[in-house]
């Protein structure tokens, strides 16, 4: 997991943007990088698939088994072939996109909201709150994230909802630390001191000045942790702790199919594996691109 520590504030971005709005400047820098562009396209494609599939194609995994056409190699009728129960792999990979991506994005959303709220409070209030919150975060960080997630799910039982809980829990500390460090830096900045001098209340300073200015590193972190969450969800699925059969999910599909390696049915595990790889790659490239785009010091200025 990458924790970024990028010091950015609105004025700096605005200056390098030569009069244009900071957001559009960042966008220009983002699409200027070929790697980021590739990442953006991949992410957009996966998101589109996840959104459109349930609308255009109804799928009931519970009734989808056809033992008479199992383990067929890719053909025009089944572009990705069929799996060991005769199910169309393309259909399952596509529907799994919604499950895997949905799980990853919601887990990260939960972690972002809770984690950064904790971080902002800790950084702004300091004192005992800071001590307690960061102590708890350090405890969570002391365990390897994947192992901790596995342990949590093993304890509370397998399933999608429980894996969502586990993945968001292990992602929280990164946000707490990141937002806390932003607050610590921003709270001594002149524009914050000015706002305070003009009589703004503590909450107004936090909500109106500090939070908006610490968003860029959080956005970058969010994008990168979606990649991590996809992997994490796939790991849980692979171990049978995530999506329960027959729900299609990339990790679970991989776990069900790798044993067909020895009998030569490469397509059953290649396509779900490729989906994991491409989506993770996409979010990583996009995350890296965003970091460059949102960090003025790395731009051409």
């Amino acid at each position: 997991m990458t924790t970024l520590d990028v010091a950015v504030d609105r004025r700096a971005v605005a200056m390098t943007g030569r009069g244009r709005s900071p957001a559009s400047a960042a966008w220009r820098r983002l699409v200027a990088s070929p790697a980021a562009r590739a990442g953006l396209i991949m992410v957009a494609a996966f998101v589109l698939v996840a959104l459109v599939t349930p609308v255009v194609h109804l799928y009931d995994a519970r009734t989808d088994a056809n033992l008479t056409s199992r383990l067929r190699p890719p053909t025009a009728a089944h572009p990705f072939g069929t799996d060991s129960l005769g199910r169309d792999i393309l259909v399952r990979v596509v529907h799994a996109t919604r499950v895997s991506l949905g799980l990853a994005i919601s887990a990260v959303a939960v972690a972002t909201v809770i984690g950064s709220a904790l971080g902002f409070l800790a950084g702004y209030l300091r004192g005992r709150v800071d001590l307690v919150v960061m102590f708890c975060m350090d405890i969570v960080l002391a365990f390897p994230a994947t192992l901790l997630a596995i342990a949590i799910v093993a304890m509370i039982g397998p399933g999608l909802r429980n894996s969502l809980f586990a993945i968001s829990l292990v992602s929280i500390p990164a946000y707490a630390r990141l937002s806390r460090s932003s607050v610590l830096e921003l709270r001594e900045q002149e524009f914050v001191l000015a706002a305070r001098g003009l009589g703004c209340s503590g909450w107004r300073v936090l909500a109106g000045h500090i939070v908006p200015n610490s968003l860029p590193p959080l956005i970058v972190q969010t994008t990168l942790s979606i990649a991590f969450a996809i992997l994490e969800a796939a790991a849980l699925g692979f171990l049978g702790l995530g999506a329960q059969p027959p729900t299609p999910e990339w990790g679970a599909m991989l776990a069900d199919s790798y044993k067909y390696f020895t009998s030569g049915a490469w397509w059953v595990f290649c396509f779900p594996g490729a989906a994991i790889m491409l989506s993770v790659l996409g979010f990583n490239l996009l995350g890296d691109g965003l970091r460059d785009a949102l960090d003025p010091r790395l731009g051409q200025g």
Partner: protein, 533 residues
């Protein structure tokens, strides 16, 4: 991360540079780690494969059958009333620790199994072990047991007196659990004997490397057929694909636990050969009779008509499976050939559900105590001989059920927890199966259905069935017993007590140059007949 694990696994399987074993060493790939090597307290096949080489019983099964032939007992006779058995022991047989095998040693072993106060019984129980099979086969311990007395009548003569005749007595004695251990070694090691086994068998124990392998060496003084292979190594290779990779690479010479789709791979490989165990195993679906919906016979019948057993066996057993119509596999002498199985027919199943008032289908169940919950269909997390790929079979059956309107949620858990849930009757609908231990129909049917209403059988109570089975147990004439077992299967079928899905002939794979391995229906095989060319 998962991809990495997968890749490393495949790399380990295919590229691993473990040295090829010499011709004097035979390496067998097993599906897991033995629990321990004291035959009296184990129940699993991975452990018993090892103890069968180290120990001998009074009698053993002949070749690939469950007929009994002499082992440590050279001959025996039985009294007219079937209660007094006199065994003549083979002379000059020694345990691996040099102590002689005599009548006193046999009596000592029986007393250890049978008497709860025996110090070497008591210490095991305190350490959490149970003499489970003795209890099951001989009706309990001490005074409860069917065994009344075991005496040494001479230095090499043992007399066993039963309180009442027991038809499968000799077949029971041939089971791996009743193999004879060295009293001296058991007394020396106590509860640690399972790590330092000493018997009379064709192989002596050398070393146990935890999570890797157990090493045995040939016993040059063996009383029976002397082993051809000097060193026998049983290696723990958990993953089926990895194990097959090791066999192809020549690191191991034989293995159990093939993925069904790898059966064809082994057949087509010029360097490998496929052996099948005679079928002695049945996989089933069990209902929990505390679930109100399952108390209605029409619902159970609907399930029986809904599941396409033929389709599942043809597709998911790699050609080694058979459709099961009843609990006993076809090779058993109590098998009912006249029995008519429920035919696959989704529309018929739907009609039955409608009759039972479930025209909307079934997705939530009601327990007897009024609790409502979604219908969870449990499958085991590991491959078993009767369900080689339980998850896929469960998904296929759940799809069949969903097509007639029965929507289940598939769920699994760790094997030990699964068995616990089954023992306590907590699963509404679950998959399980059985591999026969001694070739007697009693070992299939009575173990499950002689105690009506038992929690471990999903509270299934069928009194007439239990009566028939208990009657059959007391008879000694096989033809009369067979009649009763056929009747029992009919009763079970008419009541849809269980859904019997498939029998399997579990496949084993060997290098072509391995000869003389005889697959046995009980799954425990001897290696002293094996040689490598």
């Amino acid at each position: 991360m998962r991809l990495l694990t997968l890749t490393s696994l495949l790399v380990a399987a295919l590229v691993s540079a473990a040295p090829a074993a010499s011709a004097q060493t035979f390496v067998f790939g097993a599906q897991g780690e033995p629990v321990q090597l004291d035959p009296a307290v184990i129940t699993d096949g991975i452990s018993s494969r090892l103890t069968r080489q180290i120990f001998d019983g009074l009698v053993k099964y002949r070749g690939a059958t469950t007929e009994v032939e002499p082992a440590l007992a050279e001959k025996w006779e039985v009294s007219r009333d079937g209660k007094v058995w006199t065994f003549q022991l083979r002379r000059s047989v020694k345990f691996h620790d040099g102590t002689p095998l005599d009548a006193a040693a046999i009596v000592w072993n029986f007393e250890r199994w049978w008497k709860a106060s025996h110090p070497q019984h008591d210490n095991q129980v305190k350490a959490g072990q149970t003499f489970e099979y003795w209890e099951a086969q001989f009706a309990g311990f001490d005074d409860k047991s069917i065994v009344g007395a075991v005496d040494a009548v001479g230095t090499h003569t043992v007399r066993i007196t039963l309180k009442e005749p027991q038809a499968p007595f000799l077949a029971n004695l041939a089971m791996f659990v009743f193999d004879i251990a060295s009293p001296k070694a058991v007394e020396r090691w106590g509860t640690e004997f399972g790590k330092h086994p000493v018997g009379t068998g064709a192989y002596k124990f050398v070393e146990w490397k935890p999570n890797q392998e157990v090493v045995l060496e040939a016993n040059a003084d063996y009383w029976g057929q002397k082993p051809r292979i000097k060193r026998l190594v049983i290696r723990n290779l958990k993953d089926n694909s990895q194990r097959l990779g090791a066999l192809k690479a020549g690191e191991i010479h034989g293995m159990e636990g093939l993925n069904p789709d790898d059966v064809g791979v082994v057949k087509n490989d010029a360097n490998l050969q496929l052996l099948l165990r005679p079928t002695n195993t049945t996989g089933y679906i069990a209902f929990n009779y505390k679930v109100k919906e399952f108390q209605d016979k029409r619902v159970r019948q609907a399930f029986a008509h809904a599941i396409n057993k033929r389709g599942i066996v043809d597709a998911l057993y790699g050609g080694t499976g058979l459709v099961a119509s009843q609990f006993q596999p076809p090779a058993l002498w109590g098998y009912n050939r006249e029995l008519k199985d429920y035919e696959y027919g989704p529309s018929h199943a739907q009609a039955l559900l409608r009759e039972a008032g479930l025209s909307q289908g079934l997705s939530d169940i009601t327990w007897e105590d009024g609790k409502k919950e979604p219908l969870v269909f449990w499958y085991m997390s590991r491959s078993r001989p009767y369900f080689p790929n339980p998850k896929e079979i469960a998904e296929a059956m759940a799809a069949d059920l969903a097509k007639v309107g029965v929507k289940t949620q598939l769920q699994t858990t760790e094997w030990a927890v699964y068995l616990d849930k089954r023992k306590n009757g907590q699963m509404p609908l679950y998959m399980l199966g059985w591999t026969g231990d001694n070739g007697d129909p009693d070992n299939f049917l009575c173990y499950f259905f002689c105690q009506p209403g038992a929690a471990r059988e999903g509270f299934y109570a069928n009194k007439p069935l239990a009566d028939v089975l208990l009657r059959a147990q007391k008879l000694t004439q096989q033809s009369e017993r067979a009649k009763l077992y056929r009747q029992a299967e009919q009763l079970l079928r008419d009541d849809v007590g269980r859904l019997f899905v498939a029998n399997n002939q579990p496949p084993l794979a060997f290098a072509k140059r391995v000869k003389g391995y005889v697959p046995h229906p009980t799954g425990s095989e001897y290696f002293n007949t094996v040689e490598m060319q």
